[in-house]
């Protein structure tokens, strides 16, 4: 196939137009799924900020394996969410009396997004913490 500069540009333009629309739909769908996941976990209750810690890399070297950890002392239940993954719920955690209310794991992130932890405390209240993680497009490593 012969590609002149002009039709390469045209193709590039076409690619842009084609992708813009689905991306915005995908965005809205991800936001909806996220809102629904949060509502299901809290039953619509108010969510406070803080009181729990979330550890994530600022920049993930590879979105396929991203180390994340949280500490929510006194939490009964925790949900770990990835705001823009195809399914935002990563995992639910249930903690017994001997637990310290913490966990670390490694997760997949489909692009730059927020990692969110919501904890249900012993008194039934909810609190959350959120951190943005940049997922880079690697050079040869990625």
């Amino acid at each position: 196939m012969n590609i002149s500069r002009r039709n390469a540009l045209a193709l590039g333009g076409a690619a842009l137009t084609v992708t813009l629309v689905p991306v915005s739909f995908a965005q809205a769908a991800a936001d909806d799924a996220m809102a629904q996941a949060v509502a299901e976990f809290t039953g619509g209750a108010d969510i406070a900020e803080g009181g729990i810690e979330l550890t994530t890399p600022e920049i993930a070297e590879n979105g396929n394996t991203v180390p994340v950890g949280f500490s929510a002392p006194g939490a009964k239940r925790v949900v770990l969410l990835a705001s823009k993954n195809p399914g935002p719920v990563v995992s639910f955690f249930t903690f017994g009396a001997l637990s310290a209310g913490d966990a670390s794991t490694r997760i997949r992130l489909a692009g730059t997004q927020d990692v969110v932890v919501i904890a249900e405390m012993a008194d039934g209240s909810y609190t959350q913490v959120s951190k943005a993680v940049k997922v880079t497009i690697g050079g040869c490593g990625g």
Binding site: P57, I59, E61, T136, G139, C140, G141
Partner: protein, 281 residues
């Protein structure tokens, strides 16, 4: 079409290799595993191409480096465990396992000197060659493919026995010609992007290629668990990946070319410690 566009994109990336802009490679981080420090920095040989040798571990982010600090954090160890199971498993017509003749610990000191000349076979030998010889000649079992999980798991188990020992491959005597051939391959530009190993790993280590830090391309940590594909990667599989990235037709895994390149690249790390099984992105 897609391939062409991404080739162009990578070409642009190659042109825009720049000074380290972000993230956090380290020249001073310490790799201490279970109380034992493993050296990740050494002086290059006098007259050699690199004055300072740096393990690829130093070029990774804090989070990736941390995965190697404890063998219970290091995901490569699920494959080392597989290697151990395979080591004890009877296979082939002779009713033998590796453990019929060896203990894994017997191989301490082997990884640092490979690849090397095998006089009896009249050929250069990588660890994969030795493993397959044992399988076909002593066990009566089938060969394993060069980079499949059984092989990489066994290579990881055997390499681990030498963790911390300095790489020390011979480059003279019967391998002198192979070394020269490997060196030539290292500096020869190939592929649509017209790049040699040296363009990235000698001229630009520490700099960014798109969002990644280029390393010196040292192989002291192989086989390596990559976050990208969540498995052990052999040295030759990585060479193949590099060649594909520069849009060149890769040599075969286990080929004379890749063995020559393995010898030459290993020699560039003479003095660095065996770090296998390492974790990279």
């Amino acid at each position: 079409m897609k391939k062409l566009l991404s080739t162009v994109a990578l070409g642009i990336a190659a042109l825009t290799i720049g000074q380290a802009a972000s993230a956090d490679p380290s020249r001073t981080a310490k790799l201490v595993i279970d109380g034992t420090e493993i050296s990740t920095h050494a002086k290059g040989m006098a007259g050699g191409p690199l004055d300072e040798l740096y393990s690829g571990w130093l070029f990774r982010s804090d989070e990736t480096r941390a995965l190697q600090l404890d063998d219970f954090d290091n995901p490569a160890f699920v494959f080392v465990d597989d290697g151990e199971t395979l080591f004890n498993k009877v296979d082939g017509s002779e009713g033998k396992s590796c453990s019929s003749c060896h203990e894994a610990g017997d191989f301490k000191g082997l990884r640092p000197v490979l690849p090397r000349w095998n006089e009896a076979k009249g050929k250069i030998y990588s660890m994969e060659n030795y493993i397959n010889d044992c399988r076909t000649e002593r066990m009566g079992a089938d060969k394993w493919k060069w980079s499949k999980p059984k092989m990489t798991s066994m290579v990881a188990l055997i390499s681990l026995q030498s963790r911390g020992l300095p790489i020390n491959v011979a480059t003279d005597g019967p391998v002198a010609d192979i070394y020269e051939k490997g060196k030539e391959l290292y500096y020869t530009r190939v592929g649509q992007l017209d790049m040699a190993c040296s363009n990235c790993h000698e001229d630009n280590y520490g700099n960014m290629i798109r969002a990644d830090h280029l390393s010196q391309g040292q192989i002291n940590g192989f086989p390596t668990y990559r976050l990208k594909n969540a498995k052990l990667n052999s040295i030759h599989a990585r060479f193949k990946g590099c060649m594909k990235n520069i849009r060149a037709k890769p040599y075969g895994q286990g080929s004379d070319e890749f063995q020559a390149l393995e010898l030459y690249v290993a020699s560039r790390g003479n003095g660095l410690s065996v770090e296998a099984p390492s974790v990279r992105n």
